[in-house]
Symmetry: C2
């Protein structure tokens, strides 16, 4: 049932469409996020405590849902996608030297950087190992290509750290390859299990790609604007970690030359210089950074909806449209 | 042609058996170890300079060699195995905080820990991505399971760092899962391309597993004994990085109680306390650590040769026996 009439689409409403499937997913994820070794087991338990919103598995399950039937591999595939997401977060937190994630200490802080590196490797290779052992070649191919693209984007992001003049195209490339592609993979993998959607794989992938762009842009807006629902993440985290995002890029081109010169000079001490964040935030708010980024998020949201036209009238269309509204209306 | 008559089997002699195939391998490896991004490209070039002995690809190619015919995928698979090996070294050097590898600065030192982490992820996922894109499902399954086992062993090794009372069984588990399993994978993957060896996959895998055990034990002996051919690696590196290996484990149980107490006390400052290495080395030499480890290496060498019995008279048997002699006679 479409939820477009509501002012704000809640994630729970989307998830109610696949409520039973999500229970199966939770069971699979609980089972798979495990390690035979004591230290691995401890870290897995810790990761389970910092529960995500299950956005990616929800998309896998929505795309795979065919009436009341559930493909036996769908929940398993959703768990694999979530494991990949968890692995990237563990490695990301190490790269960003982040201290907390979902209000808990990060693996790198609690067990040290070496354990964080190995833990990520453990989770990635577990997914590959599970998918190949189960003979899920299509899902494997998608996840292998996706994680590889993500690693290239990580390097690109590292290369462009604290680059105040980061071109907008480079920002879009980074978020496309780092965030959107796993959301695209989620939708595409889900469609593998739906007899009526299999031949729409490219459309589902394009939908996820555009949805993922909108998702990341809104996330990047929150980092400048603050959002009461994101209490686990402090505002300004992206800036302090040297991640130049769309609100900044858009505002920077509108900023006056003297302001630019002053901020450039202040940057010498590094982006985590305490007073700098207040100035940067002000610069972004005053120079239309948030408005521009919101406009771009809406643009990708529109493109996501357009990607669904290829499906024709299909039971999935309404709920996937709602997923777009959920992502965009988080801003309201 | 068997080389057992010689006192010391040279790696070049083994490699002459697959000379042409190794040229194809080098071409594949050169092509695959590449990154579209500038920073990725630079790191790839750096990694190419620190050339390995090509032991694992040599085994892939020996196992795959069927007369003068060469399976078109064999050199590609050998390159994938070498990429996995390279990825593990990049991550290992980060974990061990190593400064040099093959006389060159490590990636973590030259480009920083974040780049080292991403580079390893890039290489691993590249292999998975390449193998799945090429539809090489068997090789993919073997490599996925192998890299997963390796990550568990890495964590086990991290957990047991500087543990003076590391049980011998734990040491064997670590080297079996961390080193031997990739050598087993090399032999097994090679056999996939040989029509006469495909049904001997388990035997080839067992051969590689035992060979890999002998290989790691001899490597661990070199770290206490020194070896002029290993100039790129300083003696005592394992100890200083907290890696407790067989020569130490064996000697430690023979050491006198006062000596043990004294070393335990000295360890408080950590294994890289400068004077400690000289004492530990002396302890290992005086208490039969090297003899015991050599005996165990020979034992696994024997088991490797026995694993080949399943093949019956086969052109591969002689050269694989030579591979065992090469590994063991490095000690002479």
């Amino acid at each position: 049932m479409p939820l477009a009439g509501e002012d704000r689409v809640k994630l729970q409403s989307l998830q109610s469409f696949v409520a039973e499937e999500l229970i199966s997913f939770e069971h699979e994820y609980e089972t798979l996020l495990n390690g035979e070794l004591e230290l691995l087991g401890q870290i897995c338990e810790h990761l389970k405590q910092g529960k995500s919103k299950r956005f990616r598995p929800t998309l896998v399950l929505i795309a795979s849902k065919n009436g009341s039937e559930m493909h036996p591999d769908a929940a398993f595939a959703a768990a694999c996608v979530e494991l990949v997401h968890t692995a990237t977060l563990v490695h990301d937190d190490f790269i960003d030297d982040a201290a907390t994630r979902r209000r808990l200490p990060t693996v790198n802080v609690k067990w040290g950087p070496a354990a964080a590196l190995i833990m990520g490797d453990f989770l990635y290779t577990k997914v590959f190992s599970l998918l190949t052992a189960r003979g899920m070649e299509d899902a494997m191919r998608i996840i292998a290509a996706t994680t590889h693209r993500m690693s290239v984007a990580e390097m690109m992001q590292l290369e462009s750290r604290s680059c105040l003049d980061l071109p907008e195209e480079d920002y879009f490339t980074i978020i496309s390859e780092k965030t959107a592609c796993l959301i695209a993979a989620s939708c595409e993998i889900g469609s593998l299990f739906h007899p009526g959607l299999q031949h729409h794989r490219p459309a589902l992938s394009a939908f996820g790609q555009n949805l993922g762009m909108a998702f990341q842009i809104t996330d990047d807006i929150f980092d400048y604007r603050g959002d009461p629902k994101r209490l686990g993440k402090p505002v300004g985290g992206d800036w302090r970690e040297g991640r130049i995002t769309l609100p900044f890029i858009a505002a920077w081109r509108n900023a006056s030359a003297p302001l630019k010169a002053r901020l450039r000079k202040a940057m010498v001490a590094g982006p985590d210089e305490p007073r700098l964040w207040a100035e940067v935030r002000e610069m972004v708010h005053q120079n239309g950074g948030l408005e521009y980024a919101s406009k771009m998020a809406a643009h990708y949201g529109e493109r996501a909806k357009e990607s669904l036209h290829a499906l024709g009238p299909h039971p999935q269309t309404a709920i996937l449209n709602d997923a777009v509204d959920y992502v965009l209306r988080r801003l309201n």
